[in-house]
């Protein structure tokens, strides 16, 4: 690899991670309440649970969401910014070959979509993805 000083400089700046949450939705506490009903207040940690969603919705009326949760017996999905945050609950049994599911949901505005998984050992995992809903318009 041919490395120049300038390459090194740009490398350094590329290492900085940027993360923006945008405007926090107003219904977040509703979601917290619903999650507490499932977990009974137990801790939710990051694990193998993943949620896949577009960064920017192509159409806020039908946003494809999928979850993958190896070892889960149940996964619930919440849309924090919707008036009713509960989206779907998937239950998995021992005969399910994979613990994954896909659906499409309607998102009112830019918000986090949250997945809570109940694992076989009774513990809980959490994952979330921010989906931006925009009026769109101008591309380069």
């Amino acid at each position: 690899m041919e490395l120049t000083r300038r390459n090194m400089l740009t490398m350094g700046s590329a290492a900085l991670a940027a993360y923006g949450l945008g405007a926090l939705p107003a219904f977040a506490s509703l979601t917290d309440d619903e999650i507490a009903k499932i977990t009974g207040g137990a801790e939710t940690a990051a694990g193998e649970l993943t949620i896949t969603a577009p960064e920017i919705a192509e159409n806020g009326n039908t946003v494809p969401i999928s979850i993958s949760a190896p070892g889960a017996v149940m996964v619930a999905i919440f849309a924090e910014g919707n008036p009713v945050p509960n989206v779907a609950t998937f239950n998995f049994g021992p005969l399910n070959p994979t613990r994954s599911a896909s659906t499409r949901i309607r998102l009112a505005t830019t918000q986090n979509v949250v997945a809570i998984a109940k694992m076989e050992d009774g513990s809980f995992q959490r994952a979330s993805a921010e989906v931006k809903v925009t009026i769109g318009g101008c591309g380069g």
């Binding site: 590329a14 920017i56 769109g136 591309g139």
Partner: protein, 565 residues
């Protein structure tokens, strides 16, 4: 203007041009150093594989002027990082002398004066000469087109992209990816793609209904080159249905889909690829982030945001090459691929100085043939400009100021909105404005100039929404355009504020009064993504306006107050 024979040039890869200082004298000073086409093309072959990258040509078959931006702000982790460095700072960063050909080609500042000395850039007949020279040196070089090729001119519009397909086919590309092409409508895209004698790639082009890879586009293609196996993975513009009218290509879904990109990299490695190249239309910052997330990519050939960088940017072990726009540059990327990995690289961003590089006669004839039926329309002089007309910049450009003026006066509006696109060549002071010039900055398949009413509150929502597409600190939420241009409306923008809080001090310029959220304003604009938009075509509106003016003068635009930089 200097003739081709005594033209003076410097290759980008060559070291800095000596001397030259004193604003306003740069053109004359630059002219004291003589170089040739051979020096522009000079390159010490390296390794065993060559890639040739062209991107974002926007249907510019003929040489043009193209001024690079003087304001291109980076936010979050990209603050102050290339390509968000412009003008004199850019020249200092890369050791480019003021007044040099590299100054003129790569950065803003003293553009009108330098344009007189260095002339036009681009022209696909000149690009053909560069490509042929590289192939003469490395016969099995891969030519890769990053897309935005079948859009942006009078002849491209009237032939629905056919003129560009015909000319590009003569250059014999090996693969291509896409963005504005889709605004031809999905039926026409299918027709053209099926006719291509090369690969049409996009790992992120999916069927909208089933969310499965679209059949028309392969995710990647494997090539045997230089005794090794190269995979080229396509990455189309991720936000097509948001930034452009979704109803024109409802069968398709896009997105970044970096999980699928990672899966494709694994798949091609498993199939024996020794080198993985991504032909991308993500935009530069999105490519940088993706390179940090998806392991195993050697080279990203980056398009969409129209950045021209004289050196690749390195992220981990991935190099990102940005090759400009409008036919102004060709990148040559030589790679040393050994033992299943990239051991080294050598690149050159070749500026296509059209007065210095001989046109390829065969391609020149083909271009002339495509244009001949439209010659009278193309060359008709509509007016003249006393000002430099350009588009690039985060908040405004003089071309867009003129377009907004046209919308306000011809459509009897209080406020005008013009999309923050980055394509469209420049005109230098003293130039005639032809019909072709107007189409070069307005041509599109949804150019209807609407006239409607918007409340002050809605106008703020529009500005906030577009501002977040540019200044969201996470590149994956950026669409790669610039701020919507406003006429008759001034505002303050805080680029580092959170979404919904960036825009303030909105003012109706005609009265100086603050915008009232509850009041309705008459707004004229163009390029709406909504189906069924009514109005005259924007190029007709602009032509009528320029005809009335005769000679165009655009005053400096001070209506946007930028803070938080």
């Amino acid at each position: 203007m200097i003739s081709r024979r005594d033209f003076l040039q410097v290759g980008m890869a060559a070291s800095a041009v000596v001397g030259a200082s004193g604003f306003g004298n740069w053109a004359r000073l630059g002219a004291q150093q003589a170089l040739t086409q051979d020096q522009l093309l000079e390159f010490d072959s390296f390794g065993n594989v060559s890639l040739i990258h062209v991107t974002d040509i926007h249907a510019q078959l003929k040489p043009i002027y193209f001024r690079e931006p003087s304001i291109n702000l980076g936010v979050g982790g990209n603050k102050g990082a290339v390509p968000h460095v412009t003008g004199a700072e850019f020249r200092r960063l890369y050791g480019i002398a003021d007044g040099s050909p590299s100054h003129y080609a790569l950065s803003s500042g003293d553009f009108s004066s330098l344009a007189q000395a260095y002339g036009r850039v681009g022209g696909l007949d000149r690009v053909a000469t560069v490509i042929k020279a590289i192939r003469a040196d490395r016969p099995d070089a891969l030519l890769l087109d990053g897309g935005d090729t079948w859009h942006g001119s009078y002849t491209c519009y009237h032939s629905a992209g056919q003129d560009m397909v015909n000319v590009m086919n003569a250059l014999q590309p090996d693969a291509m990816t896409f963005h504005w092409e889709f605004t031809l409508g999905s039926d026409r895209v299918a027709e053209l793609v099926e006719s291509l004698p090369f690969a049409a790639l996009g790992q992120n082009i999916f069927d909208a209904e089933w969310d499965e890879p679209a059949e028309l586009f392969a995710p990647y293609k494997l090539f045997e080159r230089g005794g090794t196996k190269i995979a080229v993975i396509g990455q189309a513009f991720p936000y097509m249905p948001i930034a452009n009218p979704r109803w024109m290509f409802p069968e398709y879904s896009f997105g970044i889909r970096d999980e699928n990109m990672a899966a494709m990299v694994e798949e091609v490695r498993a199939a024996g690829a020794q080198c993985v190249v991504v032909l991308s239309h993500n935009g530069f910052d999105v490519d940088k982030k993706m390179a940090g997330i998806v392991p195993g990519i050697d080279v990203i050939l980056s398009g969409h945001t129209h950045d021209a960088l004289p050196e690749p940017v390195l992220v981990g072990e991935t190099i990102i090459v940005a090759s400009g726009s409008n036919g102004k540059f060709v990148s040559r990327v030589d790679l040393d691929i050994r033992d299943g990995r990239m051991m080294g690289y050598r690149t050159k961003l070749i500026p296509v100085f059209s007065d210095a590089i001989d046109p390829d006669p065969e391609v020149a004839a083909l271009i002339d043939a495509e244009r001949a039926p439209h010659a009278a329309q193309l060359t008709e002089v509509i007016g003249r400009t006393d000002s430099l007309l350009y588009r690039r910049g985060n908040f405004n450009g003089t071309w867009d100021d003129l377009i907004c003026d046209a919308l306000i006066s011809e459509r009897d509006a209080e406020i005008a909105l013009s999309p923050g696109v980055r394509w469209g060549p420049s005109l230098v002071p003293g130039q005639d404005i032809t019909r072709e010039d107007i189409w070069n900055v307005t041509s599109m398949t949804y150019g209807e100039a609407y006239r409607t009413e918007m409340t002050g509150e809605f106008l703020k929502i529009v500005l906030e929404d577009v501002a977040d597409n540019i200044f969201n600190p996470d590149p994956y939420y950026q669409q790669g355009g610039d701020m919507v241009r406003t006429g008759g409306l001034g505002y303050r923008v805080n680029v580092t504020a959170p979404q919904g809080e960036r825009i303030s001090n909105m003012t109706l310029l005609s009265t100086g009064e603050p915008i009232d959220p509850a009041r309705s304003y008459v707004v004229a604009g163009w390029a709406s993504v909504n189906e069924g938009t009514k109005g005259p075509q924007i190029w007709d509106v602009v032509e009528t306006h320029i005809k009335k003016l005769g000679t165009v003068t655009v005053d400096p635009n001070t209506s946007v107050d930028v803070v938080g930089v």
